[in-house]
Structure formats: C-alpha cells, structure tokens
Symmetry: C2
Subunit: 175 residues, 2 copies
DNA sequence: ATAATTTAATTAGCCGGCTAACTATATTAC
DNA sequence: GTAATATAGTTAGCCGGCTAATTAAATTAT
C-alpha cells in the first residue's frame, strides 16, 4: 500500500522564502517539479494499489505471481524472487507466507539443496493471475493512455535524465 | 524508507506475450513507460531517502518540521499536520512520538480545547531543519538539475496527463 | 440540562519495506 | 576429513503507511 501524500505543497512564494533563508541558489521551478513528480507518482500509485486491492492483490504479490508464471516449471527459489523483485529475502519471506496462506503459491523442498525451497505457482495462483491481468492492463491504459506515442517517447527521455540525476546523487553520497 | 524496485523489468517481447495471452489491445510502449515511471520514481526516492537518513531524518519527519517552522508560533495540532501531510492522524501520532523522542518537537495541552495537543518546534528541531535544508536543495538540484527550463515545463505537462489518468481511474473505480 | 453526536488523539493490529541475528546446509581450504 | 566460510531461509524488531476501536471532551439537539 502506498504512503500518503502532502496536501499542502508549497507555492512559489513559500518556496522562495525557504530557499532564500538558507542562501541556496537552486531554481524554484526545479524544486516544484521535483515535488510535482513525487506527488504525481504517489497519487497514481495510490489509485493503482486500489485496483490491485479489489482483486485481493498487492503489487509485490502480483509481480511474484508473474515471475512464477513465466518461470520454467512455474517454479523459483525465494532467492531468485528477491533478486527479480529487488527486495530482500526477508521481505520475500513475508510475502510468500501471505501467498501460501492465500493458496496461490506452494513450497516444496529442493531435491538438490536441502537449504533451498522451491516456490511454485498453484492452479489457484494462476487463475487469480490470469483473471487479474486484463484489469491490470485496463488500469494502465487508463493511467497512461492519455499520452500519445510521441509523449511517451518524451517522457522516457525526461525519466532518463532523472535516472542520471539519481545515479549522480548516489555517487556523491559514496564519497 | 522507500520500497524495493524490480530488477527484472519485462522487455517488449515478454510484455507482448503477457498482453497477447489475455487478449488486451493495450500498446506495449504504454505499459513500458508506466513501468519506467514507477522505476524512475522509486530509484530516485530511494536515493533521496538515503540523503535524509544521513541527517537522521525521514521525508515525513522533515516535512512535519517544515510545516511547524512555517506555522504561526511554530505550532500546529496533530490534526492539522495530518491534513497537510495527507496522512491519517494515526500515522501522525506515530511520527510525532518519534520526533518528541528526538527532542525536535514538543507537546503541550491546548488551552482552549482539552482534547487537543499543541505540537511545537523545539530549538533543536529548528536547528536540525535549518542545517538540513541546504543539503536538501543540493540533493534536489542533483536529481533534477539535469532538466532544462523547457524540459521542466514539458515534464509538468506530462505529469498533468498522468494526473488526469489517475483521476479517471479513480472515477471508474467508484462506479 | 441532559442526551446524543461529533471530534481530537491514541492504541492495537495488519502490511510490506528494512537490517541484524540465527539455523541449517554446502562449499572451500588445508 | 575436518575446519572455516559462504549461502538459503527464517525470525525478531524497527519504520511508516493503513483501518478500526477506544477514550475523553466539545458541541448540538431536544
């Protein structure tokens, strides 16, 4: 579930005040679009999460079902799921417990490694996934369908710049 | 702290497969840019959170300090903070406990309403806030400084379209 | 004036992130 | 062959979201 979102976003005047107070020479519009980016994502995600919730899914659980569905024998190790998800094994452990409780996934010991557990998609898991998928694409279409092909291209350029900024910030932090 | 992020994003072929399987006629690029948008935000936020963490702050706590700093007498009610933050009072209650423990905020009973508690910024809270602010703007500059003035304008147009999509989805859900 | 309702804040309990610590098994080094 | 190390998974405990329930006080209705 997604976090809340400021209802009180500073206007240019208030921002200018804060910026002036600390003698930063950052451009006000830069800050405002940073805030706008956060805001837009969070509102979008909140709504997308609401769609998922209607089908008793969360995004992470949905994505796990997708990974399993596409995997050979529809089976993966928790470790592999964690890598694909970009989450820790601890987090995946929790998510899997939930999915097992929902009967969408099962666990069985690996025949080759006694430490490992094979996670498999159940028939119920596949049913839920396949019945949800069309609604997922509908939601994405509603969210992003307003952008033309050209606009999608432009968006991807702008996102690439933000990703560059992110990488730069990451490098600056390492120092 | 921000959630993880898929490391395994489907390529066009895999997406086309999933889409075809459920007979959706959504455009593949639409889905990919939706995923790209999520990915870009999450990586950005993860890094921004890391900056905040360096100063023993989280975004929510930082924003609360800002709201208090700008408030008359640097005081607000939990209820007002919840509204500005766009979070529930329960969440604010938790955040305030943490801020009180850090000595950045104090509580005192409202003189006019015995149910209410006035939250005030302490000297320490103000010190932390003002010493962090320049680093905050530096981080935002690093993240978004790569976008020109024109690009920021374009971004805001595209975000507006996503916000429209979000609103449409919200309306569709109500029905 | 009192009863009913609304409101402010907190608490309990769930979720999904995280790190750190632990157990059990595999692997590597010697 | 055994000791040291690395790896798979889980658990405990923290954080910040949430909803629902609770308490106390204020307000409104009658």
């Amino acid at each position: 579930m997604e976090k809340g979102n400021f209802k009180d976003r500073p206007n240019a005047t208030r921002l200018a005040l804060s910026i002036g107070k600390v003698n930063s020479d950052i451009d006000i519009d830069t800050v405002q679009q940073f805030l706008n980016f956060q805001y837009s994502y969070r509102e979008m995600q909140r709504q997308y999460d609401a769609v998922l919730a209607k089908y008793h899914l969360t995004e992470s659980r949905f994505v796990i079902l997708m990974f399993l569905y596409e995997a050979p024998h529809q089976q993966l190790l928790p470790l592999q799921l964690a890598e694909k998800l970009g989450a820790t094994r601890a987090t995946v452990s929790k998510l899997l417990r939930g999915l097992v409780d929902q009967g969408r996934v099962n666990k069985q010991p690996s025949p080759t490694d006694k430490r490992a557990t094979l996670i498999g998609l159940t028939a119920e898991g596949e049913r839920v996934l396949l019945s949800f998928l069309p609604h997922n694409f509908d939601a994405v279409q509603t969210l992003f369908g307003g952008l033309s092909s050209n606009e999608l291209t432009t968006l991807s350029h702008l996102l690439a710049k933000i990703q560059n900024g992110t990488q730069t910030l990451e490098q600056e932090m390492e120092k």
